[in-house]
Structures are given as structure tokens and as C-alpha cells.
């Protein structure tokens, strides 16, 4: 191929045009970039994003990526301060960290203009209230729920276990080579096994810190209560879990429940809705649901609130606020809940919406009621809302996973976690 000057110049011009394209697009007024990670709600939102443009004339480029990719990309986007993102997915657990790093801006000025502010539940809303300011608006609250095979539990004369000790007793009776009694998240990580393990801790009176609410953040993870909780968690999974459960995360749990390989699990409500859905589960007609078990100190279902915020570097915060208002409006959320398998909404009136009650009632009559019952028993600081929780949660989760897989004893695992928390506190 012969290279001519004109050809070369044309090529360079084309390359420059391609490289400049994102900047040109971004520079246009009436356009916002939205970055979210994949969940039923966010995927549903992307599918109807054109409605926002029709209503407001603002084009929303909604980018939905995997959570792992999201976290790396958002770190780079925020630290680069590029201003490329106008609306960002803010898990409540990250809000404090991002606030302290000045990556997101308060949204107080926009709250009055929220289309459905009065319909948003107070608890999830308050998850974003830090130092007297609001740092995001919630769109979903995943809550811990139990899914279990009614047929197998009926056979031993049991209903849904009320406590972890009851669960262990039932597990002993129903565990077999064909169907394992229980599977729970075990993979190490603050969003993985540390979504589940605190339910055990709190049921036995365990804590992360001496007095988190009172402000005493002395690490207290090596307490006898936490040790008892860890032992029962290990006992359940190692003796009555499926083979290889020591690395399980929610995808493996979902698949094994849907295929009838496991009889009981505690999962986020979004995952539970997939486990009991006849469209995705072979044993849907045998599934029962309940609030998660508790213990001597009560019950504390896991909770994970997700919302949207506005990056400090956004070039179009007003457009971003309009998008958040539209995306969290009861009308939009209702549409998504009808289109997708999405029950984690935080718009209170939707729990009574006739169409939604019919849709999810067909999957499981009690689904919405059990979710609300679990939600009412949650505490906002189920996982401590601290800027460095990622690091602390991972440290505890890795040690818990090590104990589960026999690398260390439960006592050593909690002592190691305690040491690491103390070290992190000293930095």
C-alpha cells in the first residue's frame, strides 16, 4: 500500500476526530454521564434511560459495568478529577469514604426538588446522612432473607428455623449426600462473607468495636460472643454445607439453590427473589422464605443500601440532580420493578402497589411482606459506616475465611483480625 501525504493527513485527522469524540460529546450541554454497577435496578434504569431524555431533553449516557470493574474505574475517575461522570452509584457503605476523600458533593440543595422525596423510606435515606449532610439518594435496600426448601424441612417436622442454633439442629437432620443442608457466602471480602457473618455476630451479642454508637472505636472483634458466632458459622458450613462451600459467593449459592443441591440459605433479597422465581428455579414451588435466624441477643438481618450521588468533579450537577430525581421517582422505580426482578425498592408506596403485589405475589405470596419484616429489624450500622471499612472488613473477612477453611483456629483468626484492626486504627 502506498502512503500519500493526503492519505496520511486524512488518517491523522480521522484519528484525532475519534480521540476527540468523547470530549466533544461530553462538552455538549444537556447531556450527563451516569456510571452504575450491575444490579437489576441499574440494568432496568439503563433500559428506560431514553424516557428521561423525552421528559427533560437531557441525554443520559448510562454506563452499567460489573462491580469489580466499577470500583477500579471509579477510583481512577475520582482521583483524576476528570469530571467525566455526573451521576455515580454510591453504595451506602462507601459514602463515608468518598465524602472524606471529597469525591462526592452533598445533595442537600436538591432534596426539595426530588420528585418522590416523601415516599423514600427514612432508614435508607438516613444511610447517606453523614455529619448533618445528605450525600446520596437511595434507590435500593437489599436485606438479608432466608430461603429454604419447605418439603425437606416439613419432612423433619420443622418450619423456618428461628435461631442459628435451630438452624444447626435442622441441618443435622436434613443434610444428605444429595442435598446439602445449608450454603452461605464464604468468599473473603467486606461485601461477601462480611455481608453474612455479622448476622451471626450480632445474634450472639458480638460487636466490631467497644461502643460504635457512642464513638468508642476500640476494636472488639476477639470477644467470646464473636467466637461463639464464628464457631457456629464454621460448624454449619463445614459439616452441613455443600462440597467446596469455603469459596462460595452469591452466584454459586444462587445456582445450587436453584438446582436443588442445597436446602437453606440466607441471602440478599435480590438473590432470594431469583432463588424462588419459577422462571429461574427448578424448585421454586417448594421454596419458603423467612426473616434470617437470630440468637440470644436478637436478630439483625444484613442490609445493603444502594443509591446515587453526584461526584464533586461533575460538570453538570443540575442535570445530574434532575436525573437522580427522575430515577428515584416512584413512577420510574415502579416501571423498573415491573420490568425486572427487582424487589429492593425503597419507595414505601410500592409495597402496596396492586400490580407489583400481583407480580411478586405470583412468585411467592409472602415475598414483599417478609422483606418488609426483615427490613424493619435491620440496623443502619450493620456494617460500621467508617471511611476505612473496606480495609477493616476485608481484614476480618479474610481471617474468618481462613478459619472456615481450616488454615487457622477460630480463636487465632479472631485474634489476628483484632491485631489488624488495632494496627489499622494506629495508622
Amino acid at each position: 500500500m502506498k502512503l500519500t501525504r493526503r492519505g496520511t493527513l486524512s488518517g491523522m485527522a480521522a484519528t484525532a476526530a475519534v480521540l476527540a469524540a468523547p470530549m466533544r460529546v461530553r462538552a455538549a450541554t444537556g447531556e450527563i454521564n451516569v456510571m452504575l454497577f450491575a444490579q437489576p435496578y441499574t440494568q432496568g434504569l439503563r433500559n428506560i434511560a431514553a424516557d428521561f431524555e423525552k421528559e427533560t431533553g437531557i441525554r443520559a449516557n448510562v454506563d452499567v459495568v460489573g462491580q469489580d470493574v466499577f470500583e477500579s474505574r471509579i477510583n481512577l475517575t475520582f482521583t483524576g478529577g476528570t469530571g467525566e461522570v455526573d451521576v455515580v452509584h454510591v453504595p451506602a457503605i462507601q459514602a463515608q469514604k468518598w465524602r472524606e476523600a471529597s469525591w462526592i458533593r452533598p445533595v442537600d440543595d436538591y432534596l426539595d426538588a426530588l420528585t418522590s422525596r416523601s415516599d423514600l423510606l427514612k432508614g435508607p435515606m438516613d444511610s447517606y446522612l453523614v455529619a448533618g449532610q445528605q450525600w446520596g439518594v437511595p434507590f435500593a435496600a437489599g436485606v438479608g432473607m432466608m430461603a429454604y426448601r419447605k418439603d425437606l424441612l416439613d419432612r423433619v417436622g420443622s418450619g423456618a428455623p428461628d435461631t442459628w442454633a435451630d438452624m444447626l439442629a435442622v441441618a443435622k437432620q436434613i443434610h444428605s449426600d444429595d442435598v446439602a443442608a445449608v450454603a452461605l457466602r464464604a468468599a473473603p471480602g467486606q461485601g461477601f462473607n462480611m455481608f453474612i457473618f455479622p448476622m451471626f455476630m450480632r445474634a450472639y451479642g458480638g460487636k466490631f468495636f467497644a461502643d460504635y454508637v457512642g464513638g468508642d472505636l476500640t476494636p472488639a472483634v476477639n470477644s467470646p460472643e464473636n467466637l461463639e458466632a464464628l464457631k457456629i458459622y464454621i460448624d454449619l458450613l463445614n459439616n452441613y454445607g455443600p462440597q467446596g462451600v469455603g469459596t462460595f459467593n452469591f452466584p454459586e449459592i444462587t445456582a445450587s439453590m436453584q438446582n436443588g443441591q442445597v436446602a437453606m440459605t440466607i441471602e440478599g433479597s435480590g438473590v432470594v427473589s431469583l432463588i424462588i422465581d419459577p422462571a429461574t428455579s427448578k424448585y421454586a414451588d417448594q421454596m419458603g422464605i423467612a426473616v434470617p435466624p437470630g440468637g440470644p441477643a436478637g436478630r439483625s438481618p444484613a442490609i445493603a443500601v444502594h443509591g446515587m450521588g453526584i461526584p464533586a468533579s461533575s460538570r453538570n450537577p443540575d442535570g445530574a440532580a434532575r436525573f437522580i430525581s427522575w430515577a428515584t421517582s416512584t413512577e420510574t422505580v415502579r416501571k423498573i420493578a415491573l420490568n425486572e426482578p427487582f424487589i429492593d425498592f425503597v419507595n414505601g408506596s410500592l409495597a402496596r402497589d396492586k400490580d407489583l403485589v400481583t407480580k411478586y405475589g405470583n412468585i411467592q405470596p409472602d415475598l414483599l411482606n417478609v422483606r418488609v419484616a426483615a427490613l424493619e429489624q435491620t440496623i443502619g450500622h450493620y456494617r460500621p459506616l467508617l471511611p476505612n471499612w473496606d480495609e477493616i472488613g476485608a481484614a476480618i473477612g479474610e481471617n474468618v475465611n481462613g478459619a472456615l477453611n481450616g488454615l487457622y483456629s477460630p480463636e487465632d483468626a479472631l485474634e489476628a483480625a483484632q491485631d489488624e484492626m488495632e494496627m489499622l486504627a494506629s495508622f
Binding site: D68, A101, A187, G244, E252, A255, E391, N399, G402, L407
Partner: protein, 297 residues
């Protein structure tokens, strides 16, 4: 041509070669050296994604490396993954290359077949092997279950998880070794095999005493390439084990990621990256020197 004219031509030629090198030098400087210097500078600070920097500048992060049990553990994990992985890949890749060249030279399609895993992205490789090693999803487990045989779970023990990553890595990258060794084998004349056969050597003797020594420079280089590549172990760990069970598969590169993105300790993560770079550079330098010595006899 006069001596003066010849000298002028030679100088022009040298200048032309230098000019031709210029784009490459600019690219290497812009995309290699400058980021590397930036990373080194970052490793000397105390920059944290959340807290920012106090302005302190020094070697503290490098001193911290040796007191950090998790870092030391990560080096052991990396050593196990790299040494085992490279050993299996070189042996398997060489065996397949020799088989394709010497035993079934006419099976050209087989080369494409054996090459296929190399074209699969590492994340996809990790997902495939994760499902194979997850007992409730694994077709292998399902097959043996039919006969009442329980296949041991690999990902829940330290040795098993390391073996699982090595197996997945070997499957994905032995074709690279195979390709280079095939190219090297093409450069060895068949006459040598024929001559040794005439002298009464068996095919195995011919391979070990003639082919293998001639392959040695290629084997050395391919081992080096693979070794440096294994220092970057990440996708397989990230998808298959997330560094677990516990922290038993957190190799150094993965640990650098954890420190940077999970723990926000960017400067410490940069120090880990600098450590890996310097280590890879030293290994490359000595192996390259050894290769020159061997090539020159």
C-alpha cells in the same frame, strides 16, 4: 567513491538510523520511562487516596515492605505460583512442540488446535476453571458422582488453590511456549537427526543429546518471558480465589492491588510495584547475559 564521500554517506546513514529510532524512543519514554518514574516518585510519598499526602518524602514504604507479614507471604505465594507454573508450561509446551514437529509433522491443523487456549482472554479462562473447580457446578465432579466417587475440593485449601491457579495458567499459556519452541525446532536441521540415527542413536537419545541442547537458548528465553509474565499474576487469582482461602493465594501483584484500590494506600501499592519491576529487571538482565554467553559459546 572518495574516502570523504564514503564517510559522509556513512554519517548520513547513521543519522537516518537514529531518526528511525526516534519514534520508538519517544514512545518508550512517554509510555514506559515517564510512568515508571512517576510510580517511583509516588512510592516515596505517603499518598493515600482518602487522606491525601502529608508531604513526607522518603523510603519508608520500602522499609515497611520487609516488616509487612502479608507482603512477605505474598512473595512466597508468588514464588510458588511462578516456579510451578513456568516449570509445567515449559515442559508441556516443549513436549507438545516436539510432538507436533517430530511425531506428527503433517498434522498442521493440530497446531491451531493446541494454540486455541492462548487466544482465550484470561478472565474467561478464570471463569471456565472456576466452574470446573467448584464442586456444585463442575462437570468433572458430576461425572464422578455417577460412580459414587467424590473428587477432592481444590479451592478450599492453600495447596489446592495454588495448584488450581497453576493448572489454569498452564492451560492458558503453554501454547506460547509451544509456538516459540516450534520456531526454534524449525531452525534445527533434520540432517542432525538423520546423522545420529545412522550412528545408532534412538529417537529419545537423539532428542536429549542433540535437539535439547540446541533448544537451550530458546528454552532459556521462553522461560524468562514466562517467568516475567507470571510476576503479573492477577486475573486468575481475582476471579478464582479472590486471594483465598484466607490470604493463601494473595500473590505480590494482587497484594499491590489490594493495598492500592481496597485499602487506598496508593504510595505503598506503588512501592510493591517498584519492587516487582526491579526484581523482573534484575532477572531479565542476568538471563539475557547468560543467553549471550551461551549463544557465543
Amino acid at each position: 567513491m572518495t574516502t570523504k564521500a564514503a564517510g559522509r554517506a556513512s554519517a548520513e546513514s547513521t543519522r537516518a538510523y537514529r531518526n528511525m529510532l526516534l519514534p520508538a524512543l519517544i514512545a518508550v519514554t512517554a509510555f514506559g520511562i515517564v510512568p515508571l518514574m512517576g510510580m517511583f516518585a509516588l512510592s516515596l510519598t505517603d499518598y493515600n487516596l482518602i487522606k491525601g499526602s502529608s508531604g513526607h518524602f522518603g523510603l519508608d514504604n520500602f522499609f515497611r515492605l520487609w516488616q509487612d507479614r502479608r507482603f512477605v507471604n505474598s512473595v512466597y505465594v508468588l514464588a510458588a505460583l511462578s516456579l510451578l507454573g513456568v516449570a509445567f508450561q515449559v515442559v508441556l509446551g516443549t513436549a507438545v512442540a516436539v510432538g507436533l514437529q517430530k511425531i506428527v509433522p503433517k498434522w498442521k491443523f493440530a497446531r491451531s488446535l493446541f494454540l486455541a487456549p492462548y487466544a482465550v482472554p484470561h478472565i474467561a479462562v478464570a471463569l471456565v476453571w472456576l466452574s470446573i473447580f467448584t464442586p456444585t457446578l463442575s462437570p468433572i465432579n458430576a461425572f464422578f458422582d455417577l460412580f459414587g466417587i467424590t473428587v477432592p475440593t481444590m479451592l478450599t485449601s492453600q495447596n489446592g488453590a495454588i495448584a488450581a491457579i497453576v493448572i489454569a495458567d498452564t492451560w492458558a499459556t503453554y501454547p506460547f511456549v509451544m509456538l516459540l519452541i516450534l520456531a526454534a525446532l524449525n531452525g534445527i536441521s533434520d540432517d542432525l537427526d538423520e546423522a545420529s540415527a545412522l550412528d545408532g542413536a534412538s529417537r529419545i537419545q537423539s532428542f536429549f543429546y542433540i535437539t535439547l541442547p540446541l533448544l537451550f537458548p530458546a528454552l532459556l528465553m521462553v522461560t524468562l518471558f514466562r517467568f516475567i509474565d507470571t510476576l503479573k499474576h492477577f486475573p486468575l487469582i481475582f476471579v478464582m480465589t479472590k486471594g483465598g482461602p484466607g490470604r493463601s493465594t494473595q500473590a505480590t501483584n494482587f497484594y499491590g492491588y489490594v493495598q492500592t484500590f481496597q485499602n487506598s494506600n496508593v504510595s505503598y501499592g506503588a512501592a510493591i510495584a517498584v519492587f516487582l519491576f526491579v526484581f523482573a529487571a534484575i532477572v531479565s538482565f542476568y538471563v539475557a547475559r547468560l543467553n549471550v554467553r551461551l549463544t557465543n559459546g
